[in-house]
Symmetry: C2
DNA sequence: GGCTTTTTATTTGAATGCGAAAAAACCCCA
DNA sequence: TGGGGTTTTTTCGCATTCAAATAAAAAGCC
């Protein structure tokens, strides 16, 4: 046994992330993934096994040579909470130390809810998760709607919760939970969820499309989420729309391509028509629709996506939110329409795909935040 | 005197960059800028002074305490070449080790020039620079038009040089020049020039607007240039335009807002009118123009910039190319128009400014590439 | 001038991380 | 059964880097 020097917590945290993600399964692969020497990697692993964060689970014989001693994260070393909310509901997930989703909790918020009540409910959700999770809570990730100051840990502004201004979330939650609390805008958190749990796995460049009550996007370039100078990148919903409209009026992409607006257009009802009780079900019923409305909606999405693709040269667009109920066919129609409208995009790998993560993508993304921020020790 | 251990070349290169940029002026400030300990910083500086890359130039007394021993780069330790070209001309600059522009060379290319001839001319330009520069050539940066594979060192495609496809520039030039050769798209190189020599100095988020024969942009987020999945980010020029146009026809932003198109619109002549011999002078003559054409052009620019700002939340847009001849007033009009068209942008710090770098911004950007890539030893 | 205060630079011993070589663990093949 | 080949892991000595203490250089103040 080697002697046991102290090592940098950051390095150990990075090592755990590599093992948990499956990118590294042995000391040698971990050494390559981290870009550090095999000898140092061995020390790290010793340390992490001694602390019960990693396990050695048997051998894995390659084509030849000494078999690698498989490294896995110890699932019961602790757990991470991921919480996402908006003005209607809170979704929370509990994720074990191996990054597997174990428990979900959902709470419907009363209408006209205020910030204080949201925070109380978040704490209650985490407490309920704790009942079923193994080991200690290690950190909490929070997917926050609206503008978020990630560094300061403050929710800056969200239109649909009346007093949601300058809410010091990290301070309020951290003091109660006694673990690190990490914030991110909820759509940008989803981008992280795709990296950990979904289609963004190997990708370093992609865009999340989030048509819900509005229309926002989250952009990932070289593995990094684009924040913008005031944490407000991705506000495509405020583009004038239709693009031919004179400016200065209130026609925006929000109004044309949000999830409710899309349902209205596909269902052929006017702006006053009441939305279905369950928008997702309403949209699912339209998945086989056809005709000029379908084509027009797809053409609009294609126009936006094509323009974004020209700016960012992104490749993959991942569709999130209720509209995923329209299925693969919707995404395929959009891709086709974009290539028809802008033929020069044909060789640029433009692709629109529906997310496979389902309804709690935001909470999973928040849990990803928590996992990425955690450090051993 | 301390003993003289070998140190990492990368660290030494980073230290030189900090001193050259003026962000670090003494051992202590350098230590903070690099995020390493004062003791190690002292070793680095010893090393670099011994190798004649840095100088100690006197003392600088602060408000109190021991005065800092001012560090400067040694101007004659060597020089960097920056070369930018398009189908018409090559511009090359020689920059001394302190980052000061010393010599410029311009060569007009014959029409229908081919790749081989361009490369020969580039080598000739560097040779002419060498006649006036002090010390050895250390590295060469190249601002390449069209698509560029930065990692592979290959110019992929450029429409206006007939056989410009898969040109192995780093291989071709490096084998002759015997120094590192670094590529970047010419507009993205300009983004670096702004960081070193211009308005991007303290900024970590900004956009370069490059209306020339077409219309491209270069985006910087958190100090990093956005490349895109296929090195093709920033192709805004291929947006359909006017936005109200039906798609599928050839109306693009290239045609509406390129430098020649802008001149035609402002001068009130039709698409067939001959361009002035010197487009810059022609544009300068219009700098005091007024009336509906002026407003319409500004409104178009404002529309594009506003939409980009919503996507990227960028803050500062730096205007490059011939249109800078339209002056501050043009940029001011655009900013005003954007805020009128999209009032919600008012508090987001949106600002359009003309570059102060002048005509050889591209070559200066290429020189920045060279400086950033160089390592001592 | 001598004293304290403040900031910068250097020395020193300790430790973290690396490279190279050795050891280990498996395969294949005779 | 044992040797050669291959890949993984560990050992070991060394070097780069750090933290802490120390030295240095000035201003301010009495």
């Amino acid at each position: 046994m080697r002697k046991n020097p102290t090592v940098q917590r950051e390095s150990l945290g990075a090592a755990v992330l590599q093992v948990r993600s499956g990118r590294a399964t042995s000391r040698t692969t971990l050494s390559r993934a981290l870009g550090i020497s095999p000898s140092t990697t061995g020390l790290y692993v010793d340390h992490l096994i001694a602390a019960n964060f990693l396990n050695e689970s048997g051998l894995n014989q390659g084509a030849m040579g000494r078999p690698r001693r498989t490294l896995t994260t110890h699932p019961e070393a602790g757990w991470f909470a991921g919480v996402e909310f908006n003005a209607q509901r809170i979704q929370a997930v509990g994720v074990d130390f191996s990054g597997r989703l174990k428990t979900t909790v959902e709470v419907i918020l009363p209408s006209e809810v205020l910030a204080g009540q949201v925070i109380k409910s978040i704490l209650a959700c985490v407490a309920r998760l704790a009942e079923t999770m193994q080991g200690p809570l290690l950190s909490v990730g929070l997917g926050v709607p609206g503008l978020v100051d990630v560094q300061a840990g403050v929710g800056l502004y969200f239109a649909f919760i009346p007093d949601w201004q300058q809410v010091p979330l990290v301070e309020l939650l951290g003091s109660k939970l006694k673990v690190p609390v990490i914030l991110q805008n909820n759509l940008r958190a989803i981008a992280l969820a795709e990296r950990w749990f979904g289609l963004g796995h190997g990708l370093s460049v992609y865009v999340i499309l989030g048509p819900r009550s509005g229309f926002g996007i989250a952009m990932v370039q070289e593995g990094r989420v684009i924040e913008g100078a005031q944490h407000a990148a991705g506000e495509v919903g405020r583009w004038p729309w239709p693009l031919s409209e004179g400016v200065g009026n209130s026609h925006t992409l929000h109004h044309a391509l949000s999830a409710p607006a899309t349902w209205r257009r596909l269902a052929g009802v006017d702006g006053q028509a009441k939305l279905p009780e369950d928008l997702r079900a309403g949209l699912a019923a339209l998945a086989d629709a056809a005709g000029p409305e379908w084509d027009a909606v797809c053409a609009d999405y294609a126009r936006v996506i094509g323009m974004l693709h020209l700016v960012l040269n992104t490749g993959v667009f991942i569709l999130h939110g209720p509209l995923t109920m329209l299925g693969e066919r919707f995404c395929h129609s959009i891709t086709e329409s974009a290539l028809t409208q802008m033929p020069s995009l044909r060789d640029t790998g433009l692709k629109v795909v529906p997310s496979t993560l389902g309804d709690n993508a935001g909470a999973l993304g928040a849990a990803s935040l928590a996992m990425e921020a955690w450090l051993p020790g």
